[in-house]
């Protein structure tokens, strides 16, 4: 489904991540874990085509994305819930969803809105409201709904639970779980390590732009020192 090999990316001279490789099947979740500034968000943005890629390859179902612009990549089935949500504040909720469904036809657009409203009934009541006036949790729901409008095969999710009440986080994870059942491959970046590890099939640890450990979530649990230190790392959150 998603195959990344030897990916390096960054901003001009500033390298944000190097030599990232992984292979994700449909319905699998990869959690990328690392400290602040490790290069997690840059990696996701690079997969979406918004951060410069120096090297390596990104393939979705065998199609190479490296040379494609962001607006072409979404056509290949990759979509993003970005760090900081980045909803369009002066567009209404409905209009945000419409932008998310830019590449689909009208009937799929309607289905997509229905799906988003079913996942997050609160958005249905607020569809005419300006997105900028939503609460943080509602904005996150909208960011997820927007990303699903294009019916992606690969979903990139960055810091979804940051600043949200546990109940809302649960709600969001339920949606991810449902997507997993529907064979969407998910790349998850998450400060909340416990949640991230619970959801993960595969784990990738990044430290200072480099991969320091990678493997299945099972394998990680069988490496208790590492597992515990990871959980300890973010106990404060």
């Amino acid at each position: 489904m998603l195959e990344v090999s030897k990916l390096s990316c960054g901003y001009g001279d500033i390298v944000a991540a190097r030599d990232i490789s992984f292979r994700l099947s449909s319905g699998e979740v990869l959690s990328i874990i690392g400290a602040n500034g490790a290069g997690k968000s840059s990696t996701l943005m690079c997969l979406s085509g918004l951060v410069e890629q120096y090297n390596g390859s990104i393939q979705v179902n065998g199609v190479e994305l490296a040379k494609l612009k962001p607006e072409q990549r979404i056509q290949k089935g990759i979509s993003i819930v970005p760090e900081g949500r980045r909803i369009f504040p002066d567009l209404s909720v409905l209009e945000n969803l419409i932008v998310g469904g830019q590449i689909v036809d009208k009937s799929t657009l309607h289905l997509g809105c229905e799906q988003a409203f079913n996942y997050f009934p609160r958005l249905r009541d607020r569809q005419r409201q300006l997105a900028g006036s939503l609460s943080g949790g509602e904005q996150q729901m909208l960011a997820i709904g927007r990303a699903l409008m294009s019916q992606p095969k690969v979903l990139l999710v960055d810091e979804m639970s940051l600043g949200l009440m546990p109940k809302v986080v649960d709600e969001c994870y339920e949606v991810l779980n449902d997507l997993k059942q529907k064979n969407v491959a998910i790349v998850l970046v998450e400060q909340n390590t416990e949640r991230a590890l619970n959801a993960a099939d595969q784990v990738l640890l990044i430290e200072a732009s480099q991969v320091t450990w990678q493997g299945s979530a099972e394998a990680l649990k069988q490496t208790p020192e590492l597992f515990n230190s990871l959980l300890g790392l973010h106990k404060g959150n």
């Binding site: 918004l50 962001p70 607006e71 990549r73 979404i74 369009f88 567009l91 932008v99």
Partner: protein, 288 residues
Amino acid sequence: MLYLELFIQGLVQGSIYALIALGLTLVYGLLRILHVAHAALFTLGGYIGVIVTNATGSFTLAMVVAMLVVGLAGMLMYKLAYEPLLSQPPYVSLIASIALFIASEEIFRIAFGPYGLSYQTAPLQGHIELFSGFYLKYAEILVMGLSTILMIALAWLSMQTRTGVAWRATVTDPDMARAFGVKIQNVRYLNFFIGSSFAAAAGVLVALLNNLVEPTMGSVASYKALAIIVLGGLGSIRGTLIASLLLGVLESFGTIYIGHLLDRDAIAFAFLILVLMIRPQGLMGGKL
């Protein structure tokens, strides 16, 4: 009665300002470029209007041709002059824009002569009597009517169509818009097409009101439109419309009551300075 007449005069002038300034606002909103050369497109519109009317006898056709050709010219201007400079700091494209504008005056002079052109038989010269003693020229009705129609069409496009929604999304966050498949190249072309064709309409209408187009007709338009978009709060469409109409009406009354102190353009800039002293972000602008 005088008040009403002055008010209508102001609205007519304000509608013209709005048509011109809107393109500047659209370009500023999308690319953060001060598109000074926009006024050259206004002049081009005026010339095409007069030339096509004189050649075919149809003012309507002239208006349509002017809007289409100038719309395309605006897209070309973006492609050739601005796109290559997008990665540079904004003042670079500002300099390019000013250069383009100065060059355009010379091009008009060389192509169409230094003295300007007039309609052979000026269209729409009659007037109607609205009520006793109060006359409206057909040309003035056309200016207000066409501006209103164009603004409504733009509002419909940007609020009611998927293209319009994508356009507004691109203005707020171009990267995110792209990530969801908005072809921002097309958005920019559309932006320049619409802004330029509106300026062309203004050019044709000014040519109609004055029965004259000349190479330098863009210069007053250029700095006044800049003043208006600052007044409106840079990038705000609503602010631009309000500032345009307000300025039109203010100038209209001002020339009668303080015309012996300040001329029309001086009134406009005095007002601009006054507003910016009180509201540096402009009438409708957000926080600075």
